[in-house]
Symmetry: C2
Subunit: 371 residues, 2 copies
């Protein structure tokens, strides 16, 4: 007998009796303010997926011995809904996030789920809380699906019960300025044979203390280097891109390859696609080492560098501290006040125009309002 | 102003109205059955540690956006209470576990706590639920402290709210037989610059799928190898020991060093101490590679091998599958039915005699019963 999968047609909605007041959009900070409702879908090995529920946002009742609290059986995603100039709301490539959630869940023995049915439920949640989707350009509704193992059992097998839940946080622009990175070769975020390419909670907790240490030194995030050759992998919460004239004399946009070490970012994939469509320079996914970056800077071949991720979209990097040396990264030599390099800004503008549905694209998934 | 630390004198106890029936001790399985009560101690950055509470075991109310559910801000410990032949109850080196908890908590930005005051609260919890401490030799009460970040905030900084809670699970013997290990060099449990030496939840979830795969092939646990030289690090849930005649012709008990890769086990430390007290052979903490193990087997120098941890105590290893070869590890050549090698059994018996307070030792911490 096949156990039931997620079925959006069985979704029930219980509305809150105490709706929140909307915050002034200028006061929105990332991930501190949540909407009225959340989506919860329970799973048991015995009965499969239960009917999805939208209900008031509030605490989850979790057994003290649940897998999620003991062994970090948890994976999450981050995607966004954007309000277009005409007021309609669109998701951006949510299928990519749900595919990655599926892969992450599989890695830690969480059950398979129907991605399309989950997407229908998420659309419904955004519709229910649509009054929270910000109106201003650059603002958006951050969507956080979490998938956790809830069986109370200290045996290190796998969780036979699970909860997939989704909640929403309206957010403002993440990094409205350039960022300074601290290159870290001491700790390792990920490594060959590890799980750096999955969005598991367990990849994040160990990064917090190193991140807070670089913040206390005046840097924004860590640039994670790996191995003795100082392979440049990714930034704290972003993939890392370099735009340069490479050692062969070619103009090139380059980022780390999907080799199991780095997170396969949706923004990363989107920017590579856009740049490849332009066809104006080489676009590469390959390993670059920190000594190569230093050489490019010394030889005047570095043009721009930036981080990219769903939360921040894109932000230009203006400095990397590496082995005690403050390496200045060009942003826009023609404009000392620029917060984006010219190529970076062009990529960012094209991406935002798609996300805010100004440029038609198959990446844009509208949320139909039936009301 | 100093914020309050944990204060055992402020402990309050609320007893359950629905006490559980005791299970037949023969039915006890590891980590599936819990006692009537748990200990909960809340922390906020603003007000420090609140008064500890013992209350009925039951679900925790956790915000969907809590650090523990998103970024695996969670660490745990495992220690045990043993009932002596005279009925008294003793803890075994709980200070070692609480020190390790402190180190793990520090690594993921959880707040400092007073280890001695926490220990007093744990003793009180065991006293409250003392009827659950099994009477039979080999059985014990497993004690699980969990420490989790509870602040609802998706920003990757650190959790300004936390919960330290402790619960109890009466358990039977874990592995009453020899075990077969599957040597894994494909995935990596831990790596230089990682967090393998801390007891973080995030170290466990990624090990589940590889572990289930070896179980499906008829093996009990993974023997984790690291790097191109196949450094023998540890077993799924245990430290790994070899007793052999080494390549220098010396009789030696050897286990991996505390080099940041392996978990610093309390059982590991205790066994090294006992063997060093004997003074009968060399006792080493140093790196051993799998090719060295193969050579020792081929040259007839391997005497015994075993895993050691709080949950299992000690269990002899009878086989390692390595690169497709089934390597038979000697257990007790004089006794084909033995489940422990002679030296392994001697270590185990001495350790159990201390844990069950048959042999007096400063490692044994009695729980005074005031009733």
């Amino acid at each position: 007998m096949t156990r039931p999968n997620i079925d959006a047609s069985k979704l029930t909605t219980t509305l809150t009796q105490t709706p929140k007041e909307l915050l002034d959009e200028k006061e929105l900070k990332f991930g501190k303010y949540f909407t009225d409702h959340m989506l919860c879908i329970k799973y048991t090995e015995e009965n499969g997926w239960e009917a999805p529920e939208i209900k008031p946002y509030g605490p989850l009742a979790i057994d003290p011995a649940a897998f999620v609290l003991n062994y970090s059986v948890e994976t999450f995603e981050g995607t966004k809904a954007y309000r277009a100039a005409d007021g309609t709301i669109n998701l951006f490539r949510p299928d990519m996030n749900l595919k990655r959630l599926q892969r992450s869940a599989h890695r830690i023995m969480l059950p398979e789920f129907d991605e399309e049915q989950l997407l229908e439920c998420i659309k419904e949640l955004v519709k229910v809380d649509q009054r929270f989707v910000p109106k201003e350009h650059g603002y958006s509704m951050y969507i956080r699906p979490n998938f956790i193992g809830t069986e109370p059992n200290l045996n290190l097998q796998y969780s036979r019960e699970a909860l997939l839940y989704v909640y929403l946080s309206p957010v403002g622009p993440y990094f409205p300025r350039t960022v300074k990175l601290f290159a870290n070769a001491k700790e390792a975020r990920a490594w060959p044979g590890g799980v750096g390419n999955f969005k598991l909670g367990g990849n994040y907790a160990p990064a917090m203390r190193p991140a807070m240490e670089v913040v206390s030194k005046g840097y924004d995030q860590i640039l994670w280097l790996l191995g003795d050759d100082h392979y440049v992998t990714e930034v704290g919460t972003m993939n890392f891109f370099i735009f340069w004239v490479n050692s062969e004399g070619e103009k090139e946009l380059v980022t780390a390859p999907l080799d199991g070490i780095i997170l396969p970012g949706v923004t990363r994939d989107s920017l590579l696609s856009l740049a490849r469509q332009w066809g104006e320079f080489k676009v590469s996914e390959r390993k670059v080492t920190m000594p190569e970056v230093v050489a490019a800077l010394e030889e005047g071949r570095m043009l721009e560098a930036f981080g990219a991720g769903t939360a921040c979209v894109i932000c230009s990097v203006s400095e990397v501290l590496y082995e005690g040396r403050q390496l200045a990264i060009p942003v826009d030599p023609a404009n000392p006040d620029a917060v984006f390099g010219p190529m970076t800004k062009r990529l960012r503008d094209e991406l935002l125009d798609i996300q805010y549905a100004k440029t038609p694209s198959p990446w844009t998934i509208p949320i139909q309002d039936n009301n």
